[in-house]
Symmetry: C2
């Protein structure tokens, strides 16, 4: 098992002259975080802790109610001592990991460190049989047989029933993972797939709560609350009721009883994550109720225990008729939820994917952000690389996420109209907002398939904590911690590969924000028409004259109207639409001159040739690192890169040939496009 | 369980005044066929058998060595008696079923009835876990758990390991099935998938031979020999050897021992069916041997027991690069086998799919037929409707098969240059030629999913027996036997639906012989580009100007040159190429004027509109039968028809829209084509 960016030997090397002290010295019996902090220092790093403050080089001080935010920590440097102060031991734990990072990167940042977002969450799509929906890193770390480490993704996510124990009980690995998450400030985790199937439905019952408790007990020590995904139809499916109608008293009682029971196992249980009325999952619509009614019923049941209901806004009609060009899946979340603003309870959070469709290489912001003004919201990312190369292709995705967090909604009446800030500004309860992301780890040797994909988990946490961090800063931090002892030029090579990798991947995939074009269900590799005549509402509408989805107000689906006036004006016109989402908003002729002063068709060709060329360069650059990087990491990345090269070639050629056959236009530079 | 076309009550009704006699009266102890014949009359039909020839209305006489062909039977009418004479009881069994058919159809055909083909075989692609590769009729009738009747086809054919007994032991059903086969003259059956995986590899060992024997014992009574498919690499996989090299003495011994052992269980065992070096299966190529060496080694091992080696010619490179337009999968069998003519042992049979690709709605004849002059050959059909509607869509496929059997190769030096006749004319041993087809039955209520798909099993047998039968005659026979008591106008309706159904299906699928355009792997429903950039070598090359595969000598892959000169001249020129395979041979512009005096694009549109309209008519016509047909059959077909209507609509619209987007040409009749 790889230690990711937290190699204790490397860290001890940096801190070998340090002596810690924790104040006050006593540890309250139930403060498991403080106990863990002590354990981290003494057992994990094997560094000394002294009772004598004067002898310490690093002083961690708990001072209750000193700061506005219970998670904030204050870093001071005084008389050669580094002093970290926080309201409680969780804040100190964050300070401790932050200190490690500062030591390794050599940059001490004094002052108060406060998280940008209250909830910083990972959603696992792990299933009770050890498989992971959209998992590319081996089997689940939570569920499944101890010896079954693989989990080949085939785009088919049925769950097998397991005889006996469904839990993996790999405590050591869970402790490592909890540390990884805490080290970047993650404070919430849901451990099972939002599509809750088979035995997963029963995780909320006595049958499995001992196992869930075991996991919660581990994460609690690292300041992380545990959540469960539930099946909306549980009252019918496992409760012996005739209905799951949220207005039914028996249903309400079912959920109250469920909550009460869960909290008897896990007193600080986080709450439920719910995917309802989407892609075949049951939900309140079938009882003539809206999503607020559906969510609020659960919210009432869990409120006495201070739990949350995280309600996903990923609701759309997955049986669209491709013949009807008026349909537009991008409008779905808005159409389902805009009118419910203000109707959700204060302990309900609406969780929305960052874009209006589904984690594509480029999308504009989901227009509900900024539109909703009285609703707790979370923005959702996908760390697992479903559409972004399956953690085979290198894809450091922070550039995209930073862009989305800082996406300017251009609402003039909001103090800070950027997406990340809006979450607080439009909340009913600003404690109940934040960011969630689908996790990307599994039982694979390096946690994440391609070891470089660890950077996305690291970066996700860092960005959640501090929305102002840049992708560049975060990457540099990660590289320094992962590869502290390699040559500077090696670090530079890794940096130059990774910092361009998100753009490179987007270059060779579906062009200019039109999305998809992937092999159906599996979602790796090209299939230009794979979803073109399908029911999922994800089309490119390419014909002999042009390509793209017209979502304008004037001639298209009208999706553009869902944004603020200023932003809508921008997106309505191709001349003011950003290049990366050009075909998301516009159906353009191949000879249309884009803002780059090239035709659309030539731009498509250029992007795809460039994308492949870049991967070729990556392969060469990586080869140079052979003797400087730990063999296992080097080899694994090299195998991935060879796969990526093949993948990029297929994308380049299939997309270029497709559009050449369609348009009949040759590449102006005379490069080979197969006919 | 449906009795298919052999309802004993219906039959007894027709024969209720008949009395049988069998001459000579005694039954030799080991003549299980004669015993069965007796059982058929007395127990199955519950009709009398007399020892007094004078009192009999039907006289079955065994006269050894009277006819040239041991399977022939002679029907005579004398003094109000029907007399059937044959060399042996198997011939009489055929005569008996023939008589039933004649009685039910009311047409007594006197004279000697001799089969056109020696081997008339069904290949089952059943797997040891009860699944069936390309099966659309529920689970295997041979393998799997007694209670597990379903077998949803997902295009994924992994085999699960079964604990304990792999055999279904549904003896009653096997007897019914054997009767169905014998009634139409089938004399050979292989019971397991040619892709031999998992426990299937061990069917040839003591572990499973008791179970195989049980099946063979049943089929033997009906004159049907049992074959097994083998895995070429068995010596390595289950024999404990380091190699499967056909030149290796230990490998030779392995197979000799295997054969000897099998024949100790099944003295009349038919032999082995082998798929080697194809689609990932192992074969002689990996040892630097050719297919003749591979097959002859097995032939030597089985020769002492009079067994056969049926060697499939379906060998091609399934990792083709779509970028290389010189590749042509159609050429594969010819390239692999043409040079081996004359090199196969006399007990080896080369089994070739009727067309050069893979059981598409329309293909020209495999050019090896007529080219090979010193090789035993079998022609292979696929009764199971892999590419022909999955036994959901009605598709009576005999029109296509009759066409292929009678396909004129135009070799001037052959006495009868038609494909069916060529088999005998070019054989090394004319006993060892014939026709094989992949079966289409399973545990579904009516044997074949859609009950109307029974007609293809029936018709297949009939056509194998008599290559001169027309699709029309066969269909009429089948309808009369299946629905003896319905109104004439109902029979006419069923006939008019079924006799056009093969053309209708072809109309709404991939146009004019270009093939595929199906959902990859699953092979039901449209995906125009599904295989277009794939490794399977099945492309249509559509672009903004035209569509089709150029296989001409002058400008294309040169495949055309593999035919006789006369036929090649025909196929080289679109003006003399049959319409149904036009795009198989030619890449044509959309404005090309076809022999029907319409443009190619308009023809594509017309076919697809017509295909869907026909299905709409079928639905209406079928509805009229509601009160005249047995409810369970009526309902099952109606459910299928509703599915077919949806399927035809998807095909129509996706194909038309695809080509409209490509060509920009509107329908000249102004019908709606979605953009």
């Amino acid at each position: 098992m790889d230690s990711a960016w937290l190699n204790n030997n490397r860290i001890r090397e940096q801190l070998k002259n340090d002596v810690f002290t924790l104040l006050p010295n006593r540890i309250a019996g139930n403060d498991v975080v403080k106990k863990q902090l002590y354990t981290e220092i003494v057992e994990w790093l094997k560094l000394p802790v002294t009772f004598d403050k004067e002898n310490a080089s690093i002083v961690l001080i708990e001072e209750n109610n000193k700061y506005d935010n219970d998670e904030s920590f204050d870093v001071q440097e005084k008389n050669g001592q580094i002093i970290i102060i926080g309201n409680n031991s969780k804040a100190l734990l964050y300070g401790f990991y932050s200190l490690i990072r500062m030591k390794l990167t050599g940059k001490l940042k004094t002052g108060i460190h406060t998280p940008s977002q209250s909830l910083r969450m990972i959603n696992h799509w792990d299933q009770t049989d050890g498989s992971i929906e959209r998992g590319y890193s081996g089997a689940s770390i939570f569920f499944g047989n101890f010896n079954k480490l693989d989990n080949p993704d085939k785009g088919n996510f049925n769950v097998k029933l397991i005889n006996g124990d469904i839990f993996r009980h790999d405590t050591k690995r869970l402790v490592y993972y909890a540390r990884m998450l805490a080290s970047v400030g993650i404070n919430s985790i849901s451990i099972n797939n939002v599509n809750v199937r088979g035995q997963g439905i029963e995780l909320i019952t006595n049958k499995y709560l001992n196992g869930v408790q075991e996991i919660a007990d581990i994460f609690r020590k690292f300041g992380i609350k545990l959540f469960l995904s539930i099946n909306w139809a549980a009252p019918k499916l496992i409760g012996g009721l005739e209905t799951s109608n949220p207005l039914d008293d028996k249903v309400k009682k079912f959920w109250r009883d469920i909550c009460k029971n869960i909290y008897s196992y896990i007193p600080d249980f986080g709450g439920f994550v719910v995917k309802a009325d989407s892609e075949g999952e049951p939900g309140p619509y079938q009882y003539g109720c809206d999503h607020a009614q559906g969510a609020n019923m659960l919210a009432d049941a869990i409120k006495p225990f201070d739990g949350l209901i995280i309600w996903r806004a990923f609701v759309y009609n997955s049986h669209q008729d491709w013949r009807n060009r008026k349909n537009d899946r991008a409008k779905a979340a808005f159409e389902n939820f805009a009118s419910l603003d203000g109707k959700f309870s204060s302990n309900v959070i609406l969780q929305m994917k960052f874009g209006p469709i589904d984690f594509q290489t480029a999308e504009p912001l989901q227009p509900l952000f900024g539109k909703l003004r009285n609703t707790n919201q979370m923005m959702e990312f996908e760390i697992t690389a479903e559409y972004l190369g399956h953690q085979i292709d290198i894809n450091y995705v922070l550039p995209q996420w930073c862009k989305m967090i800082n996406f300017n909604t251009e609402y003039e009446d909001l103090p800070d109209p950027k997406a990340g800030a809006i979450l607080r500004e439009t909340a009913v309860d600003s404690n109940n907002v934040g960011i969630a992301a689908v996790g990307n780890v599994g039982m694979s040797e390096h946690w994440t398939g391609n070891p470089l994909a660890q950077s996305n988990l690291y970066g996700y946490g860092r960005l959640c904590w501090d929305n102002q961090l840049s992708a560049e800063e975060i990457l540099k931090e990660w590289i320094i911690q992962m590869f502290p002892s390699i040559k500077k030029e090696s670090k530079d090579k890794i940096y130059s590969i990774m910092i361009t990798s998100n753009k490179t991947y987007a270059d060779y995939c579906a062009p200019l924000g039109v999305g998809f074009m992937v092999v159906p269900h599996y979602h790796y590799g090209p299939s230009v028409n794979g979803y073109e005549y399908d029911r999922w509402g994800t089309y490119h509408f390419a014909d002999r004259n042009g390509v793209g989805v017209d979502r304008t107000i004037k001639t298209g689906s009208g999706f553009v109207s869902m944004y603020s006036k200023k932003l809508a004006n921008k997106f309505e016109n191709p001349d003011t639409t950003p290049m990366d989402v050009m075909l998301f908003f516009h159906h353009l002729n191949y000879d249309f001159i884009l803002p780059n002063n090239k035709t659309l068709i030539q731009t498509i060709y250029d992007l795809h040739f460039r994308g492949y060329e870049n991967v070729k360069k990556y392969v060469k650059q990586w080869n140079c690192l052979k003797n400087d990087i730990e063999e296992s990491i080097y080899d694994t990345v090299q195998v991935c890169l060879n796969e990526q090269l093949k993948n990029a070639l297929e994308w380049r050629d299939q997309v270029n040939t497709y559009f050449y056959r369609m348009s009949g236009v040759k590449d102006s530079l005379g490069r080979k496009i197969y006919s």
